[in-house]
Assembly symmetry: C2
Homo-oligomer: 124 residues x 2
């Protein structure tokens, strides 16, 4: 029996769409970071080190568009903008948390598997 969704082969199936979204790693990292609560633009950028300003802007906008994040703008001088998970976003954070937990628990095994594989391959 199939462990997964109907046909992930249909370009329009939800699974595909979600994968496209979490495909860029930034989505997952940002959602994870915001699990603590709302954060300002710059603050997110500092937490998710390595992300370019362009990708940050881009990813944030996409997430707001998807209803995962809410953007709250305070028309002050200087302007302040905060991003926060919506209910939907918090809901998504949960399965993502399961995944990251899996990662932290098993990635050492993956690392060992890689070493072994590479050693075997080079030895040939």
């Amino acid at each position: 029996m199939t462990a997964f969704a109907p046909d992930p082969y249909d370009r329009d199936c939800p699974t595909r769409q979600l994968l496209d979204r979490i495909g860029d790693q930034w989505t997952v990292l940002i959602v994870g970071t915001l699990g603590d609560g709302p954060l300002r633009f710059t603050e997110i950028g500092k937490r998710v080190a390595g992300i370019s300003q362009k990708m940050l802007t881009q990813t944030l906008r996409a997430l707001v568009r998807d209803g995962i994040l809410e953007r709250r703008m305070y028309p002050e001088i200087p302007p302040r903008v905060e991003y926060e998970l919506t209910d939907l976003g918090r809901d998504l954070a949960e399965p993502l948390g399961v995944l990251t937990e899996w990662a932290t628990q098993h990635m050492d095994r993956v690392a060992r598997a890689r070493e072994e594989y590479d050693r075997a391959a080079s030895g040939r």
Copy 2:
């Protein structure tokens, strides 16, 4: 308190590595497909429609290297090769299943959020 792993900002942290892996959607789709049991190379290609032979080969090799899949070769004429989830792979399939389930349940809300967002944006 942080909902996620230590620092996803470290390029070497397990979370990052996993994300890189599931980043290419093919990984998730292939692991999902193999949840039913072992499959032949060509069979996987047919199930995961849209994947090029190159990406199929590439992804399969990467997954074998990571110890997620096992490659079983039968030296017959014509040659037959089967891929199967390892214990580790089956273990990964579970959290992935949770994610895809989330997708099937909530992607309609995402779709609506997008429409609304686009409508508001274009109306301006």
